[in-house]
Structure formats: structure tokens, C-alpha cells
């Protein structure tokens, strides 16, 4: 059930009144039922996978907690009787058992994700290697990929890791935990929430609050506008450009990068607006996933502002544990003695960066394009770290330059184009083709196609270009307003006529220029496939 389908709107129209009519203590149960109904529309088979993840992670977390509690009681009762060595031995024994449950939950659930998502990728690569040696070929297998599996698996594994670390006690109730795993607005494309942020709100009681619901509805409307008026329209042109690389090279590759950057932003942030908006109308706050990322001045800042919940997940559960692991600390010692303290201490951090970005790449999809994309992000971050002293010296020499608008604009434009160039790996069918197409920007550069009517052959008429352009300008305008705080709060302070005009204008735009007006079908969100 797509967010953009009539079925989904009907689903919400039934859920909302029910949610505020049922006794407050039953609201979470209704949400759980609604989430499973929503997920069942993706296919009955999907339900089995999410149920397995829910039950196994819930049970393993409870077992880990029981072990920890038993240890506390045991040591308290025998505080005087046990020697320090005996206490240590007992703790080590408990730690081993806890680790057993922890690893079982991790391996099972990452195993399910790996088998469903990466089996065919592994087969394709094995076949390629086998072909080199004249060996046989394996058949690809037909596997179900449950909707949002990467998102809910990561969210649930994050919970297991937190319980293992003792960050919070586990959820004792299986149905309550099941709601945390399956909360329907964020099942499709995140955000990847943390249990201690989300669960208290999901399980709390929510009286109807006109302002919160109204803010939520505004956010939903804004999301639909971005997705259906801007993203789905630009998708046509982007598909035309990347679908015919032999025709559309040179300046078209650059144009494709630019349009894809706008499309992806409108698509993904539009989807997240709908998600957060729906959650808000249910009285549930959800963490923001984007903070105007295209205004970032460098790649590190960009990744702190784009798909934030994914970035922090990889930071907290991959980057930090890998960086401070025993093997990495011993590499650190060796590299310091080999390369000196300055360079040596950076080696393990950079190694952990590459490992994290490899994981981020492969999380996005089972293809070399994503792996190379991830690794290139890591490489660019490392290069920018290494260049930091150069920039520092530059600013010491020219202290006034850094404060100018021109310099900040240069940084923003540089970061935007760098990220757009890396993102072209999302678009073309393989890595060599991507590199050769990006190369044509320099070897076959000509501005003529921009003015000879070629743009009108990309599937969009002049009217569509104008609508998409105005839509992008509106998104830019809203982003600029956001720098002064919540746009909805600013709107709230404006006269009623202005508020209604905005609401009607956006609704009109979605209905007329969206999926229903110009013969398009609302398409799947890009991040659904992850």
C-alpha cells in the first residue's frame, strides 16, 4: 500500500477517527493492529519475517536482562562470601552467556537480511569468477524481499545492542515491542528510530490536540506536494537521461546529476514529511531525518544533515564499536610506532571510516555501484580530514575570506556538486558506465542541448518544466524560511486568509499537478527498495 495510493488515504481516514474515539489506553493496540494490516498489504509472506525479527529480538533482549539481574542479585547476596577472583569469574561467565544471546539475535536477523537481500548479488559475482575459470553457472533464486526490511531490522538490532549495553531495560510485553518494530508510518522508508525516543510516545495516551493534528496534516500535505508534484515529475526526465546513456552524455550527465539531486531530495524528504506528519497526527513525535542538507558546507556536515537517523545508526553501532575494538586499538599502537604519533593515530580512524562506509554502501543495495559509492564517500571524508590543516593555514593567511558570503556559497556549491557526482552511481547500471558517463562531462561538453529544444524530448513538456521549477523554488523558499524556525509556527502567526490560501494552494497543486492531473502514475518511493 503506497503512501500515494487512494487505499492508503482510505486507511488513514478510517484509522484517525477510531484512534481518537477508542479509550486512550487502547490506542497503542489499535496502532499495532493498523500497522500489521498495513504490512499485510505488502504480502502475507512479509508478515512472517517481521514477526520472526520481533519475537527473536524481544526474547533475546529479555534473556540478556534476566542474566544481568541474576548477576546483580547473586553478587549482592554473596558480597562478603566471594573473593574478588570468584566475582570476576562469575561476571565473565554471565558476560559470555549474554554475548551468546546477543550474537544469536544479531546473526539470525542480519542473516535473514543478508540471505534475502544479497544472495543473488553473491551468485552473480560467483558466476563471474567461475566464468573466468570456465566453471559452471548458478541459477539466480527467486526470493521475497519484505518491504522496509533494512529499516525495521536496523531499528530492532539497535534496540538489542542498547539492551546488551544496558542503556535501558527491555520491553517486557511482546505486543508493545511489536508496535515499536512495526509502527506503520516509518516502516516504508524510516526514519530508523531509537527505542527510548519512540516507544514512550507510541505506548502513551494521546488526547486529541487540534494544533498537533493540524501541524501533522500540514506536514503530510507538504510531503505529498514534494513527492507528487516535484519528485514524480522530475523522475520522468531523470529516467530518460540515465536510460539512454549513448544519447544523453556530456552536459546531460551534469543535468541528470542536478535533476536527480532535486528528485531524490523531494522524494525522500517528501516521504519523511508524510511519515512524520502521520505520526504527529497520532500524537507521536518522530526524530527529524533531514536538516536542509543541500546547504551543507562540507561532506561531513552533509552526512550530519542527510538521512540523519541512518548516519547516527552507523556511527553508534558500527563506527564507534569498530574504532574502539581491541584489534583496532592494537592496530593503532602498531601504526603509531611505524608511522609516528601524528599519522599513526589517524590510521585506525580511517580504517573504521572505510569499514563503516562499506557497510553503509551495501545497506543501500546489493550492487557494486552502492559499494563503490559508499567507499568513495569514505575516501572523500578522509581526504577532507587530511586537507583540514591546509584549509586552516589558508584561513590564517586570509582571515577575512572565510567570513564572506562568497566563500560560504562556494563551499555549499562544492559540496552539492561533489555529493551529486557521487550519487550518479545510483543512476547508471554499473560502475564503469558511471565513470565513463561522468567523464563525458569533460570530454563532450557543450551547452547547445540546453537551448535547442532537447529538454522537451525528455518526457516533460514546457508546462511540466515550469511546474517542477516553481515547485523547486517553493521548496528552496521554505528551506530558507526554516532557518528562522518552524515554518508551520510562522504560518500559524500569519492571518487566517494566508493560512487557508497556503492549504488550498498546496492541495490544489497536489490534485491538479500531482499524480492525477497529467497522466502520471504516482511511483514508488526511491527508498522503499532499501
Amino acid at each position: 500500500m503506497l503512501f500515494t495510493s487512494f487505499g492508503f488515504i482510505l486507511f488513514l481516514a478510517i484509522l484517525f477517527p477510531l484512534y481518537y474515539l477508542v479509550p486512550k489506553r487502547l490506542q497503542w493496540m489499535l496502532l499495532l493492529a493498523a500497522s500489521y494490516v498495513f504490512y499485510a498489504f505488502a504480502g502475507w509472506g512479509c508478515l512472517i519475517f517481521i514477526a520472526v525479527t520481533t519475537v527473536t529480538c524481544w526474547y533475546a533482549s529479555l534473556r540478556m536482562d534476566r542474566l544481568q539481574k541474576r548477576q546483580s542479585l547473586y553478587l549482592k547476596a554473596r558480597k562478603e562470601a566471594l573473593t574478588s577472583g570468584e566475582k570476576k569469574a562469575y561476571k565473565a561467565q554471565v558476560k559470555r552467556k549474554k554475548l551468546g544471546w546477543f550474537l544469536a539475535a544479531l546473526l539470525l536477523n542480519f542473516g535473514i537480511l543478508a540471505v534475502l537481500k544479497y544472495t543473488n548479488f553473491a551468485i552473480v559475482n560467483l558466476n563471474a569468477v567461475s566464468a573466468l575459470f570456465g566453471g559452471g553457472q548458478l541459477q539466480l533464486v527467486d526470493l521475497l524481499l519484505p518491504m522496509g526490511i533494512s529499516f525495521y531490522t536496523f531499528q530492532t538490532i539497535g534496540y538489542v545492542i542498547d539492551v546488551y549495553r544496558g542503556k535501558y531495560p527491555p520491553q517486557e510485553s511482546l505486543p508493545r515491542f511489536a508496535l515499536f518494530v512495526s509502527f506503520f508510518p516509518q516502516l516504508v522508508q524510516g526514519p530508523i528510530s531509537r527505542y527510548d525516543d519512540l516507544a514512550p510516545h507510541l505506548l502513551g495516551e494521546h488526547p486529541f490536540d487540534r494544533r498537533t493534528v493540524s501541524f501533522g496534516l500540514q506536514r503530510i500535505l507538504w510531503g505529498y506536494f514534494k513527492k507528487m508534484v516535484v519528485a514524480d515529475r522530475l523522475l520522468t526526465a531523470v529516467t530518460a537521461i540515465i536510460g539512454a546513456p549513448e544519447t544523453y552524455d556530456g552536459i546531460f550527465v551534469l543535468l541528470g546529476m542536478f535533476l536527480y539531486a532535486l528528485e531524490l531530495y523531494a522524494d525522500f524528504t517528501g516521504g519523511i514529511d508524510i511519515t512524520i506528519g502521520i505520526a504527529n497526527t497520532l500524537g507521536v513525535p518522530v526524530k527529524e531525518n533531514f536538516i536542509r542538507p543541500y546547504f551543507s558546507k562540507n561532506i561531513e556536515e552533509y552526512w550530519r544533515r542527510w538521512h540523519i537517523t541512518m548516519g547516527t545508526w552507523f556511527r553508534d553501532y558500527i563506527f564507534y564499536p569498530v574504532s574502539v575494538s581491541r584489534p583496532m586499538l592494537s592496530i593503532s599502537k602498531k601504526s603509531r610506532s611505524l608511522l609516528g604519533p601524528e599519522l599513526g593515530k589517524r590510521v585506525p580512524v580511517y580504517l573504521a571510516t572505510l569499514i563503516t562506509w562499506f557497510a553503509t554502501g551495501i545497506w543501500h543495495g546489493a550492487s557494486w555501484n552502492f559499494i563503490v559509492w559508499g567507499l568513495l564517500n569514505g575516501v572523500v571524508i578522509i581526504i577532507s580530514q587530511e586537507c583540514a590543516p591546509l584549509y586552516r593555514r589558508f584561513h590564517e593567511r586570509f582571515p577575512k575570506v572565510g567570513a564572506t558570503f562568497g566563500w560560504r556559497l562556494f563551499q555549499v556549491v562544492r559540496t552539492f556538486w561533489l555529493m551529486s557526482a557521487l550519487r550518479s552511481l545510483d543512476c547508471y547500471r554499473d560502475v564503469p558506465l558511471t565513470f565513463s558517463m561522468v567523464g563525458t562531462i569533460f570530454t563532450r561538453f557543450s551547452l547547445t542541448p540546453l537551448f535547442d529544444g532537447s529538454l522537451l524530448e525528455l518526457g516533460l513538456g514546457a508546462g511540466d518544466w515550469i511546474v517542477a521549477g516553481l515547485g523547486c523554488l517553493l521548496i528552496l523558499g521554505v528551506s530558507l524560511r526554516q532557518r528562522r524556525g518552524s515554518v508551520r509556527e510562522q504560518l500559524e502567526r500569519s492571518p487566517a486568509a494566508a493560512r487557508y490560501a497556503v492549504a488550498f494552494g498546496l492541495t490544489f497543486a497536489v490534485l491538479v499537478f500531482g499524480a492525477y492531473g497529467v497522466g502520471y502514475d504516482a511511483s514508488q518511493f526511491i527508498y522503499n527498495q532499501f
Binding site: 549495553r165 542503556k167 574502539v324 581491541r326 593515530k345 580512524v349
Partner: protein
């Protein structure tokens, strides 16, 4: 490890920051994830105290004092 030795590690990373008084090192984005890992590896290399990943949370890294208390606690546990 003394508090002054910790301040020295921190000041090496960001000489421009007054670590003795700053209490929002994470919240105010003074330290990024690279800085944090550098601090953890420095402490491990020089003072033989391992800071597990689960302890890398804002509350433990927002001020030099909080970080010092964390290191003291972890040393005691060892």
C-alpha cells in the same frame, strides 16, 4: 590519569577550545566522531583504559569533567 593530562589530550585536538569550562562539547558540536575516537584511542594508548563503544554517549563526552569521571569509573572497574 590526572585531569590535567586529560586536558592536554583534548587541547592537542582543539587548541582553541577552553576544555576546563566547556560543558557542551557534543551538544555544541565542538567534538565530532573523529575527535571522539581520537580521544578514546589516546586514552587507551597512554593510560591503558579501554572506553567501550556503549559508553560513547553525549553525557560522558559533553565536558572534560564528565569524561574524566568516566575514565576514573572504568579504571576502578578494571
Amino acid at each position: 590519569m590526572t585531569f590535567d593530562e586529560l586536558l592536554e589530550i583534548l587541547s592537542d585536538l582543539h587548541p582553541e577550545v577552553d576544555f576546563a569550562t566547556e560543558t557542551g562539547l557534543i551538544d555544541n558540536k565542538v567534538l565530532d566522531s573523529f575527535d571522539i575516537v581520537s580521544i578514546v584511542t589516546e586514552i587507551s594508548a597512554n593510560f591503558d583504559v579501554s572506553i567501550p563503544a556503549g559508553e560513547i554517549v553525549p553525557e560522558n563526552f559533553n565536558s572534560a569533567q564528565a569524561l574524566f569521571e568516566l575514565v576514573e569509573r572504568l579504571s576502578d572497574e578494571d
